[in-house]
């Protein structure tokens, strides 16, 4: 089975415990969302998976075999990371040739085709690109390497909305044509919720959620209506925030909804993934709790 097994991985940087006994499987041919706050440990995990940094303890197995000193296993994964390791002044088209040496299944023709869709000029040096176009350059490679595992760390950083839209479409196309395991780490949670199947939430170096997007989304809902009615309804509910506008109120609630107990005159919708994530990862005693979750 083509899976990545992460077994009891821990990693400390100085005083900071970046990963704390992390165990997780990334199964074959699934798209995962790896979500977490800034500094939660997402990038550390992705870098350990691909042997760019080494864990203090624990191991990573690909198809049951440890990735340590295992070029075959490592060659089956591609990590699009924040850092790029191309020589200064290298042009994009030359980076494509260079990639082909390390990833024999890299499809240069396809990379050039999607570069054109994004209007990326492949004659430019990589270092001359803006934040958005640096991401696009990395996307053109990640979507063309054709490895069984593709790991994407903040793939849409700096991209405009149209380009993000195009990226999500190309990703789904790629996944349909060449099924593979994709792990996307991103802060644009609401957008990515439309392309991912499973969600892994990491918080302070620990996995706090690992379930299907659908299952997680079923755990939160909103209730809207006149303030008095909503206030009465939510009295004994786990309310995580609200919006008010004139006499109207929307409350965000964690838990399973029981539609039969809903009073007349209120409307209910699912809680979106981003708001759910924000609540699940807010820290106890966090200063920001003095604000309403009103947006």
């Amino acid at each position: 089975m083509n899976s990545i097994e992460v077994k009891d991985i821990s990693k400390t940087f100085g005083d900071v415990c970046a990963l704390d006994h992390v165990t997780i499987n990334f199964e074959q041919n699934k798209i995962y969302g790896l979500l977490g706050r800034n500094g939660a440990g997402k990038s550390t995990l992705l870098n350990i998976l691909t042997n760019r940094i080494f864990p203090d303890s624990g191991q990573v197995l690909i198809n049951g075999i440890s990735t340590t000193n295992n070029d075959t296993a490592l060659g089956s994964m591609y990590l699009m990371s924040e850092k790029t390791y191309y020589p200064e002044k290298m042009k994009i088209k030359d980076a494509y040739k260079w990639t082909k040496i390390f990833y024999p299944d890299f499809d240069e023709t396809y990379a050039k085709k999607i570069a054109q869709m994004f209007k990326l000029n492949i004659k430019k040096p990589i270092t001359s690109l803006s934040t958005g176009y640096t991401s696009i350059f990395k996307i053109t490679i990640a979507l063309s390497v054709n490895t069984p595992f593709i790991l994407l760390d903040e793939p849409v950083l700096g991209l405009d909305a149209n380009h993000r839209d195009l990226f999500y479409k190309l990703l789904i196309e790629k996944f349909s044509d060449h099924p593979c395991t994709i792990v996307i780490s991103t802060h644009l949670i609401e957008e990515v919720s439309q392309v991912i199947e499973d969600i892994v939430i990491i918080q302070d170096g620990k996995i706090i959620r690992n379930e299907s997007c659908e299952a997680l989304l079923s755990k939160g809902y909103t209730v809207s209506g006149s303030k008095t009615i909503v206030d009465t309804y939510i009295q004994y509910k786990n309310v995580i925030g609200y919006d008010s506008l004139g006499g109207l109120k929307t409350a965000y609630i964690l838990g399973e909804i029981n539609k039969s107990t809903l009073p007349d005159g209120v409307e209910t919708t699912k809680l979106d993934l981003q708001r759910l994530f924000i609540q699940l990862t807010n820290e106890l005693g966090d200063d920001r709790n003095e604000f309403e979750s009103s947006l």
Copy 2:
């Protein structure tokens, strides 16, 4: 009146016309969203407003007086831009002291207070910060300078969802407590639609939309239902994309909705700002049009 008047500004870089006869007013005490594709001219406009770069022709007036060689006018604007101009190795807390010299109304106590909310360690050198925390550092200054005009270029780049949430809340708080004119340039359109009043869309150096968020949002809608019914309904409509799932279809339509002509069994919602933006700024003959707008 405290307004920024941009009069017939043009700017060319080499072969590229970055701004093409741009005329626009930013009125007192409003929050504007300055939206555009990568490379549309947003940053050039913001840099010209603050005299960091000079236009080839046209002028910028603040309260009716040209900003050229006018330190008072320039001191009334603060631009949070992609580039930071602080000396290498300068610590955040020293940057706060430095800011106070140039912006006498800068509230250092408040900057430190919100730094703590974001868990920004102000003893760190600015250059040691991650992408997200570099944005947070700049946010703490922008929300504390207390100038009549605050211009924010990609303020939430790299921020996690919780921090973006906190930023939007603090921005609204600031605006309520000290009304001012705020211009936000961002690619996270759906999120910002909740805090902005007016929208300015720039495309290829030209202003293509300048109207209230509400007015713009009233111009698009979606229709969902069984494929056959939706297909019949949209026959003579300006359809900009659709989603299909089994026998169901959602069509995205530009134009005013006439609810009386809606057939039974279809549901309609407003088109969100991001999808509307994507369609308005897609270029004719753009390669990406070969894809459905399906996300």
